[in-house]
């Protein structure tokens, strides 16, 4: 029988995507569809003293202009506005709720028109007067007001004292600027007025059920009256984990007009959503001359808004990677007059491990040790926070295979010692680490007598390949060709699923499919046994498998009954089962994915122009379900890591509290010319402890460590240590 798991299966939704058949939130049609445009605040803080919508209303084709003064009713408690993944502390943002302005770019009016052009033009005519208040948008200015937040990492010993006594020390501050997700698809919602107060909401989101619960709560709707659909998502990277303001506003518009409304944000408006918070990281490493760590201090100060406390774990990663006799971790938040920061690919790790891995490079130089060798000397086989072994940790193998593929042993240690004509050549490396998470979720499988199966789940595929790996797992579990499998996702009425995030979707869906397929198999066996003289009459459930459209005895392959015959015996056309995955509770192991990243840069000696000419990323992440989509995940992450290292920065003018590069011409991400040779290696990592199928997830691990490897390579090339991202040519020339 063909096994699909592990193969390089092409995307099952590829054809739909390249032909345009795949529909996105802003593309769904409705009768009498009205179009909405957002008016944003020009100031970062204050109150709306007067809002004049008269001129906008007079434009032919304008249906209504909603503001805090005339909007339909919305919930008035923080609890009602808290979505599944909202920060625990704080008061979630409520668009158009009242006259308060909390950030520049905040939506303050919604123009509804017969077409988009009319709505957008009328939006420019809304006249707003403000009572302005003092504001602050600069992390460095708010640095001293930062407050400590609790994290799972556990300090031990006296790191300050040990640092002071250490024979080799490195201490430095690193800075990561604000970054925005910039998914290709704009945030959009099409809210269809189904009559009688019922709504169907097509939304760009990473979790339809989160949005459904949130909207029902905000608008006091019965669960059956509001359905959220999101079959395809054109990238989200964390920006779509929380319901974004456009879905609230589009719903508000539909309720006000009692007709269908579409709202598509502009690219500029998407800079008024969440972002990776600017973060200041301080590392203090003290080592013995033999290259073992005596002291490790990691402090992070990250940005949040004035009204919510969003934070992720920047500081705890060292304890997963390196043994240190003494360790101290402090995580702080600084409040700025900005939207709440949010998850963005590998939140916490992308920033925290950047600083950690640059610091380790600097320590290796101080110790005159090869950077890989230092990491091996500090290598930890246990999670130092919880003092637990790992379910698996093939990081040593990542270092070995990555170094070999890269040709690391030919590296000359001295900075500026390798050249290619007018270019200085630098080789740098770093470690990556992320979590292997899994969440409860359910799938429903409907198997027909014709050997076709449909698999239903509310999960989203945000472009990662979820449709494809689910089809592979279902095909193997049901013993059917993959073309006989149809996956249905992104509908809040389907079996429950968490938001798509945290790299947990692969493990969660795979086990839910396996569990449900087992139920199907059990029912088929019961049917098969009813057949007269059934060859499987005595077979136990655990002794049969589904293969090639048949139920087959594992003990005697000649004993088999086709799915069609089994169903015929029961006079049924289909079997339908729904089951939630279950994972054995295991508090005795740490669960993580790891990587080793090796980067080559070539830097023009006079002009400082940097090219990342080679990257090797060796990843240990358990069983790889699909060699092709997995490779794409890591390759895409590496490209993003190049951007994080060299290009990405949301630029603020703190005098205005405004973002000055709110577009993808001036907010730079890598273009093709910036991307050269990227080699992805998946290190073999069998793991029957993490979960029965040994799956760990790949969504995040690929970006962690990439920026550090490049920064370390730039140092090796130029002898210049640049700790503030992005590494632009002027910093190299300086």
């Amino acid at each position: 029988m063909t096994s699909y798991i592990g193969t390089a299966t092409s995307r099952v939704d590829g054809r739909a995507k390249v032909t345009g058949e795949a529909r996105y939130a802003g593309e769904f049609k409705a009768i009498r569809l009205a179009h909405a445009a957002v008016v944003e605040s020009a100031i970062p803080k204050g109150r709306i003293s007067r809002i004049d919508t008269g001129a906008a209303r007079r434009v032919a084709g304008v249906l209504d202009v909603l503001t805090h003064e005339n909007r339909p009713r919305m919930a008035d408690t923080d609890k009602a506005w808290k979505d599944d993944v909202a920060p625990e502390d704080g008061s979630p943002f409520r668009p158009l709720y009242d006259d308060r302005i909390m950030f520049s770019g905040q939506p303050i009016a919604l123009v509804l028109g017969e077409d988009w052009e009319t709505a957008r033009y009328a939006a420019s005519l809304v006249d707003i007067q403000y009572d302005k208040q003092d504001f602050v948008t600069d992390l460095r200015q708010q640095h001293d007001q930062a407050f400590v937040v609790e994290k799972p990492d556990k300090p031990h010993g006296d790191a300050d004292k040990a640092f002071a006594a250490a024979s080799v020390r490195h201490e430095a501050e690193y800075y990561i600027p604000t970054e925005h997700h910039n998914p290709m698809e704009l945030f959009a919602s099409t809210v269809v007025w189904d009559g009688g107060g019922k709504l169907t909401v097509y939304d760009k989101t990473q979790g339809v059920q989160n949005v459904q619960r949130y909207l029902c709560s905000v608008f006091d709707k019965a669960p059956d009256d509001l359905r959220v659909i999101s079959p395809y998502v054109g990238g989200a990277f964390g920006a779509g984990l929380r319901p974004q303001y456009q879905v609230v506003l589009a719903t508000l518009g539909a309720l006000a007009l009692r007709r269908s409304v579409r709202l598509v944000l502009t690219r500029q408006q998407m800079y008024g959503l969440g972002y990776r918070p600017a973060t200041i990281e301080r590392l203090a490493l003290g080592a013995s001359a033999n290259g073992t760590l005596d002291a490790l201090t990691h402090e992070a100060i990250a940005v949040t808004s004035q009204f919510e406390e969003f934070s992720r774990n920047d500081t705890g990663w060292a304890a997963l990677l390196y043994k240190s006799t003494n360790a101290n971790y402090v995580h702080k938040l600084a409040r700025l007059d900005l939207p709440t920061s949010s998850d963005m690919r590998a939140p916490g790790a992308a920033t925290g491990v950047y600083a950690l891995e640059c610091a380790m490079d600097e320590l290796a130089i101080a110790l005159k040790l090869d950077p890989v060798e230092l990491r091996l000397r500090c290598y930890s086989d246990r999670d130092q926070n919880e003092d637990l072994p790992y379910t698996s940790k093939a990081l040593r193998e990542c270092y070995r295979q990555g170094a070999e593929a890269f040709g690391w042993k030919a590296r000359k240690a001295e900075p500026r010692s390798m050249r290619d004509g007018s270019d200085l050549v630098g080789w740098g490396m770093a470690t990556g680490v992320w979590e292997a998470l899994q969440m409860p979720m359910a799938v429903r499988i409907v198997l027909g007598a014709n050997g076709h199966a449909e698999v239903f789940c509310a999960a989203s595929d945000i472009g990662t390949g979820t449709y494809t790996i689910m089809a592979q797992v279902a095909a193997d579990a049901l013993g059917l060709p993959i073309d006989n499998i149809t996956i249905r996702l992104g509908d809040s009425t389907l079996p429950q699923a968490p938001v798509e995030g945290g790299s947990w979707m692969a493990a969660s869906t795979a086990h839910a499919i396996a569990a449900t397929a087992e139920e199907i198999r059990g029912e088929l066996l019961a049917l098969a046994k009813r057949i007269k003289d059934s060859p499987l009459a005595d077979a136990r459930p655990e002794d049969v498998a589904l293969a090639d459209g048949r139920l087959v005895s594992k003990l005697d392959a000649s004993r088999a009954i086709s799915i069609a015959d089994a169903m015929r015996s029961g006079a049924i056309e289909r079997i339908e089962k729904e089951k939630t995955n279950t994972f054995a509770e295991d508090k005795k192991h740490a669960r993580n994915t790891h990587s080793a990243v090796f980067a080559e840069v070539k830097v023009d000696e006079q002009l400082g122009v940097i090219r990342v000419t080679r990257v090797v990323s060796a990843v240990a992440a358990g069983r790889i379900l699909n060699a092709k989509t997995a490779h794409s995940q890591i390759m895409g992450s590496v490209v993003w890591g190049i951007g994080m290292a060299l290009h990405e920065e949301t630029v603020f003018d703190h005098r205005f509290g405004r973002i000055m590069n709110a577009n993808i011409a001036e907010y730079h991400v890598p273009v093709n010319a910036d991307v050269h040779d990227i080699k992805v290696i998946f290190v073999d990592e069998p793991d029957d402890l993490v979960n029965p199928m040994g799956i760990k997830g790949l969504g995040e691990i690929g970006i962690v460590g990439v920026a550090a490897a490049i920064a370390n390579a730039v140092y090796h090339a130029t002898g210049k240590r640049i700790r503030d991202l992005p590494i632009t040519l002027d910093k190299v020339m300086r």
């Binding site: 033009y121 060299l646 290009h647 003018d653 000055m660 010319a673």
Partner: protein, 338 residues
Amino acid sequence: MIPFHYARANDVADAVRMISADPAAKFIAGGTNLVDLMKENVERPSRLIDISRLPLDTIEPTADGGLRIGALVPNSDLAYHPLVEQRYPLLASAILAGASAQLRNMASTGGNLLQRTRCAYFYDTVTPCNKREPGSGCSAIGGINRIHAILGTSENCIATHPSDMCVALAALDARVRVTGPAGERAMAFDDFHRLPGDTPQTDTNLLPDEIVTAIELPALGFADNYSYLKIRDRLSYAFALVSIAAALELEGGAIKQARLALGGVAHKPWRNTAAEAALRGQRADQASFSRAADILLRDAKGYEHNAFKIELARRGIIRTLTQAAQATPQSQYDKKIR
């Protein structure tokens, strides 16, 4: 976007008549910059006069051995035209350093001259900007000014002209042919764009009722010794921090004639004839190139985020002149700097 009228011009005279009748109207050809600015409510034309079908899309040799380029020739057609590739490779190279293939397919030659600055404050209607709203103040001075000018600035504006093509045209001594109600006239390329002075809202010396019809290149194309080097924050699809067009005519080891123009450093493509004169008769070596760079940058002034451009321009000038002298022009495909 503000509502506007649309009209199509039948010929050049018609276009001039239409623009004369409506001072708030604008010509549209490729629209690659104008439409963006209209979406941002920065440009608010009452009327768009579509000139894209006028017969100004040919490239023809002129009697004096030069080339006449119609104002509506798309940037990509111009860059890949055999006569341009052979005789004016500096121009082809500069065009290919700019924008993306898709934009170059749409953008016209005349429109490239008339593109407006990429200063963030010019685009953001919430912030003061003298170019967008005369008298409101310059937010870039004291604000975010990484991509801004170091030469020819005024206290009213430190914006740069974003074109690559124009830097090559300046170096090649092009002329701009324009037609207005009074008939045709020609301008030296250096006279076309203005410095900001007290009137940063006015980018060029093209009169409001005139239309660009053609660019003329003289016979001398510097096809043997040239280079266009664009230095930017990523390796493609970004505006220049500094770009340099260098062209040399060599005789033995000596420079018979030199041209040097910079982009990304001023409100117009920046040429300095004194720097060129200083190269004339000199050996094509680092010392001469360095002297020329020093002359060109003598009055350069940096601001908070762009002071690095002065040294970057100095090193870039030397590098580009070296590439030109060695006949190893910068490739616009392989991004390694030669």
